[in-house]
Symmetry: C2
Subunit: 478 residues, 2 copies
Amino acid sequence: MPKQQVDTLIIHANVFTMAGSGVGALADGAVAVVGDRIAAVGRTDELLASCEGTEVLDGSKFAVLPGLIDCHVHSPEALLRGVAQDVPDYMERAMAPFSKALTEELKLAGTRLNVLESIKAGTTTMMDYTAPYPGWADFYSSVGVRARLTPTINGLAPGAMARAQGGVYELDDSKGRRMLDTALDFEAQWQETADERITVMMGPQAPDMLSPELLRVVKDEAGRRNLMIHMHVAQGDREIHQMEQRYGIRSVPFLEDLGYLGEQLYAVHLTEATADEVRTLVQHGVSMGVCSGCIGLLDGIVPPAALFRSEGGMVGLGTDSASSNNCISIFNEMKLTALFNKIQSKRPDVVPAWQALRMATIEGARAIGLGDQVGSLEPGKQADLILVDLDQLNLAPVVQSPIRNIVPNLVYSATGHEVDSVMVAGKFLMRGRDVLTADESAIRGDAQAAASEISRRVQADPDHRKLSLLSAMRDGSL
Amino acid sequence: MPKQQVDTLIIHANVFTMAGSGVGALADGAVAVVGDRIAAVGRTDELLASCEGTEVLDGSKFAVLPGLIDCHVHSPEALLRGVAQDVPDYMERAMAPFSKALTEELKLAGTRLNVLESIKAGTTTMMDYTAPYPGWADFYSSVGVRARLTPTINGLAPGAMARAQGGVYELDDSKGRRMLDTALDFEAQWQETADERITVMMGPQAPDMLSPELLRVVKDEAGRRNLMIHMHVAQGDREIHQMEQRYGIRSVPFLEDLGYLGEQLYAVHLTEATADEVRTLVQHGVSMGVCSGCIGLLDGIVPPAALFRSEGGMVGLGTDSASSNNCISIFNEMKLTALFNKIQSKRPDVVPAWQALRMATIEGARAIGLGDQVGSLEPGKQADLILVDLDQLNLAPVVQSPIRNIVPNLVYSATGHEVDSVMVAGKFLMRGRDVLTADESAIRGDAQAAASEISRRVQADPDHRKLSLLSAMRDGSL
């Protein structure tokens, strides 16, 4: 029988397919790629017998995994890394003047930094969530990463949060409708473009930030286009307080009454969701995004991801933003999600390594509606995969029997810096830690220039005097 | 005035001296090194005016910090990375057959791996805690890292833990005395050797693992030699249960009665210490070692480091072991100590970045009795310092005003892989991530060979059938 000609044949690797219910470990495994898809996965001897590779890649020092999925990120905020942590009232006392200074023309420098950082940490699919601006989707198209983009729809009147003083925020439906129109235009332009690497969701910002009427319109427009809805839900006591003041009801029952709960809803954060609310969401088929690093750092809260998953729901991991989390790595999120939930429950067996790795791959893919295309290494799926260098000292030695130590070390020891190569849709975006589809040095330089411009603007804004961290500057602790 | 000739002059760097009560930030800072000591620290223009460097190093892309201090590690266990997590009863159900297989002749391969991993993550002082074996201290001597070595003294009868079945462990004073003799011989041979880089502490393993009589002897011998005591204290409910069964008293009051509490005592873990016990320890001048990563992963517990520090005690950070923590990086410990304590207290302002960095440097140095020599960059102190590459994407961009973002990013985003160069006692151990004083490839290869031998031994040992993780192997989740 003639051998099948394949574009890339990776052999002798520790492959983790994530197919089935576990991690799908294959020692001395091989993966064959044709075009943008996985053609075959199996033992090296099997694939060498059946395939001829145009490129044959010796994977003996690598773990080969599905590319990781960042299920929630605000990419422009990469420019604000490290300016807002360790303080209560983060939004008003740390972020506000920086957010104001991060104007539309600076955002692309942030997105580009964020996307490169993500690729270098092994992320192949990014759920970016922001008000669309010129160049946003174009960069995703050119750099080659898979993107599920959510143009946000926010119906708060400008300045409403600052003015509310503990009362309800003023809503502005006409602004919200303009943002909806922008989102629909964005969808018309970008849905299933760049060889279908780019797809779109609808993004009503939060249940307290749009009127019920506008939320219904968004839902109808999404339904008409068969789009999922990507939404912050129960993202803090601030939101719950708004909902109770305005409607006398918490976020989850409010959304249930509005007909929002269903498989089309991907709900992010859920920091305030009760156990009963989690069960309600799972029963309706809602999926969850958890941003453990961000919520731990900003709020000292552990969202109910372990419960959501154990009730049968799909959970994906998100980095949220470098302004809230300081780092953008799904390796970090795997580890923190596992550790935080162990601490929350005081049990070491809660969220074991394999569950964290599933959230970062196949379960995250399912949570965001891409489970048929990515998240596992199976024939016919998109060839989104990463090679992790097991020769890095923090992943050595490799033990194969009587138990295997690779997955625990990927979750509890790897950081993202160990990722050697990244492939999306059959094309390498990074090899040997060199990004091939963008100029890393130029992107870092542009980000630095944009950040310096933001510094100048914040320094010139009298509001910067309200920054909590100014006292840390004065007393020498920053 | 003639310029002072210095060996190394680092200029244009973001220097954090850690002198005083904060982080001692110097933008466009410089550090001059002569021999094994820091000769001067200041602004670049000042040092260029006063010093002539044999080597002048452009530090403009670096943060320069005191080398990090690992205040508690069992180095041989690096060979067991990733074999024992996510399970209750870690000692008996996960570690036991592996610990048995890690015999004396294999340990050096583990220590060497651990030490290299530490250096590459920016650690310059290591508090290694293990039963001494041939070659242990020699490797520290040759590789050039600073080491505070603690040969352990354990008075448990062999097999006592497995036999106890919930009752008290059988003690064996004669075994304990032999280990004490070994420790004293070790001290006589190694104390203040290798240009005083190597120093020694006494290491009674834990209050429940030696008889009160032997604990008194150890304390007397330590006092006679002016040695500090490095001891696991209140390291789990197992220990407290032993103490209460045997003496009707908890660990901290037991040690108080025995005269152990004082500045000579460095107490590690304290997972079970109550708030009152923490205050008692601090009042006596005891210091604390906290191993956040290990204790979070194994027990889901957050030790009372924030309380200990806020009461005025000195806290150092430890990695514990790759078998319990999977990674060996004080960057990881800074981050987890900050995040876990925020979660414990549900407050984002608990353990801010600067406090974590102080625990990893000057406060850790003071906790282990080296505060006069290392932990800050000040003239006359040992030249132990690291250069962290701020050009790494996860540390970009750098913001200097109106607030500085470097320290928060070092704590919440850096992982250790960003460390470019490491100097101990004025000598570079690593430059551009190349370790100069050891053969990384050979050390990794030897560690892999030793781990494979351990695998064979465990596989041949019928006790391996008790491993909890075998079920995870069978069901495909490892």
